[in-house]
């Protein structure tokens, strides 16, 4: 029953999101517009290409089916979370949030550890499990997007070489930026100190963080200008360097190997449609560069650090960036996503996020908050 209701809730939140007030989104989001627009992590508007379809009017999203199935209470829960979460509104529309810490990280002492354990139990364990093994109560309905098993010590989003652990800042960044297309929303409601507390908690679930020295991020040279020539070279490399086998000749996730892929746990997984859905890490050239060179450990997405030079990697990044869906974030607010299929966007971006927003909103209800407010 809960699954039905959660799925059914998606159109209304899409409605809420798209009916937002474009002129005031940046302000709602608790972040000044220039910061958002200037962030290297935000997809900048790109020149029109034949692959990019015309902007889908937001009204299309407001007419999704299932509105009538939605109870009043669910709407309230979603709204409660949207109100309390800086930037969640923009994130649901595809904005990529800056996830870098702005203050020095706090010392890891007993107080921070205790705080991390408390926050983890309250916010994370519902999906990731009390023991961090990815088997929280909600995991049973997340078969398509299983929560990370922190005990395995294997992470997709790293700035470190293939098969390495992530840096602490990598974990901080993932908590802060969320993972588009999954229930892992950006935890922008937590102060930075609390996010660092969660980082220290996550690391306790795998002995690898004790055994292995702290890994270093890969070097990211300054990006070249994304000239048409570079994009063209990247497109050629995309065909010849192995990308197209899975992601397809035009990046739509329909390569000949697409139906054959499994993750480390043996679950079938699918390559990203690079033209139509939000990227896990992000779709800036820098993000794509890091993904191509470090790979998504535990998935068939390899590190190409040994097969592509940094220059060639930038070319691939420029091409992929050129076909990525556009989420126009401007000083005036957040524009609607320019994607081929509103359904796909809705399913990817909102439906999964709702799985977190509903229980989180429920926990934020006054009668639920009373027992946890005292220590905040």
């Amino acid at each position: 029953m809960i699954v039905l209701r959660i799925v059914a809730v998606s159109p209304i939140i899409a409605t809420i999101a798209c009916r937002g007030h474009p002129a005031t989104v940046a302000e709602d989001a608790g972040m000044s517009a220039p910061t958002l627009a200037a962030s290297p992590f935000v997809v900048a508007p790109a020149p029109a290409s034949p692959d990019v379809v015309a902007p889908a009017p937001c009204t299309a999203i407001t007419h999704g089916p299932g509105l009538e199935l939605l109870g009043e209470g669910m709407q309230d829960l979603g709204m409660r979370v949207l109100d309390a979460w800086p930037n969640l509104h923009a994130w649901l529309l595809g904005a990529e949030l800056p996830g870098e810490p702005t203050a020095p990280r706090p010392a890891v002492d007993d107080a921070l550890r205790a705080r991390g354990a408390e926050l983890y139990d309250r916010h994370c364990s519902i999906c990731h499990g009390a023991r961090g093994d990815g088997t929280g109560p909600l995991a049973v309905i997340l078969v398509d997007r299983p929560p990370r098993d922190f005990t395995a010590g294997v992470y997709k989003l790293r700035t470190t070489p293939h098969r390495s652990l992530p840096t602490d800042t990598d974990l901080f960044r993932t908590i802060s930026r969320g993972l588009h297309g999954t229930p892992m929303i950006p935890w922008t409601n937590l102060p930075e100190r609390d996010r660092w507390a969660l980082v220290s908690r996550l690391k306790t679930f795998s002995p690898d963080f004790i055994d292995e020295p702290a890994p270093a991020s890969i070097a990211v040279p300054p990006p070249p200008a994304a000239t048409p020539a570079l994009v063209e070279r990247g497109q050629h490399l995309f065909q010849t360097a192995g990308c197209a086998s899975c992601h397809g000749a035009s990046g739509k996730g329909n390569g000949p190997g697409a139906a054959l892929l499994h993750d480390a746990a043996g679950r079938q997984i699918y390559p990203r449609d690079l033209t139509g859905t939000l990227y896990r890490r992000g779709a800036s050239m820098r993000d794509i560069y890091i993904t191509v060179r470090t790979g998504f450990d535990g998935t068939p997405m390899a590190s190409f650090a040994n097969s592509l030079s940094p220059e060639d990697t930038w070319a691939v990044a420029a091409y992929v960036h050129s076909i990525a869906p556009r989420y126009g974030v401007t000083a005036g607010g957040v524009a609607c996503p320019e994607i081929a299929s509103v359904d796909a966007w809705e399913q990817e971006g909102v439906r999964m996020a709702m799985l977190t927003m509903i229980p989180t909103g429920w926990m934020m209800q006054p009668h639920q908050r009373s027992d946890s407010d005292g220590d905040d």
Binding site: R163, D211, S245, L261, S307
Partner: protein, 197 residues
């Protein structure tokens, strides 16, 4: 009638040979156990093997299949002189090369087949230039008494001639200690091993 009897005798003799042959193979012992790895993510890249077992071994041919964008199996254990036949069952071109053993059998499409003879002891890292996520290992031993671990770390080495041996563990990333093992006929010796940094 006479010829019938002769047939029976010949058949009987064949059966006897077959039984003795089987009995000889079965008179070996078994070594089994489990390997634990720290970090656990490195466990799949593990082989347990006997360092030296005197004897000469007939050359075999084993297959590595490029299937579902992976090498299947992930590890083959062979003996010096054996051949690996590489198959491609995927609808995409795959390459077969090994940077540490210096061979490159080229890039070929679905249904293709190519072979390589491994004439040196050691481990060859098996890669596909087109798909850097594809990785396998060819473990080339002095003898055939070697086994890759399963997903839980279990291994079984069967039909080992009775004797005293050094039981070794190889891992692509980690180290483990050698152990002495005494194998007796028709019995199983249980030895657990660990690999670590």
């Amino acid at each position: 009638m006479k010829s019938h009897l002769a047939h029976h005798l010949i058949a009987g003799a064949l059966v006897l040979v077959a039984i003795t042959g089987t009995a000889r193979a079965d008179s070996g012992g078994t070594i089994e156990g489990a390997v634990t790895a720290r970090p656990a993510k490195d466990l799949p890249d593990t082989v347990v093997y006997l360092k030296s077992v005197p004897g000469t071994y007939p050359h075999r041919t084993v297959d590595i299949d490029q299937r579902s964008m992976t090498f299947v199996p992930h590890i083959v254990t062979i003996t010096v002189g054996d051949t690996v036949r590489f198959l491609n069952h995927d609808p995409v071109d795959h390459n077969v090369n090994s940077p540490d053993c210096h061979y490159d059998l080229g890039t070929k499409g679905q249904g293709s087949e190519r072979s390589h003879v491994f004439d040196k002891q050691g481990v060859c890292t098996q890669l596909c230039k087109v798909h850097p996520e594809m990785l396998a290992y060819v473990f080339v031993g002095q003898n055939p008494y070697a086994a890759a671990v399963d997903k839980d770390g279990h291994y079984t080495i069967s039909n080992v001639p009775p004797g005293k041996y050094a039981l070794e563990v190889w891992n692509a990333h980690l180290k483990g200690e050698s152990q002495q093992v005494t194998v007796t006929a028709n019995s199983t010796t249980h030895i657990d091993l660990a690999v670590h940094r």
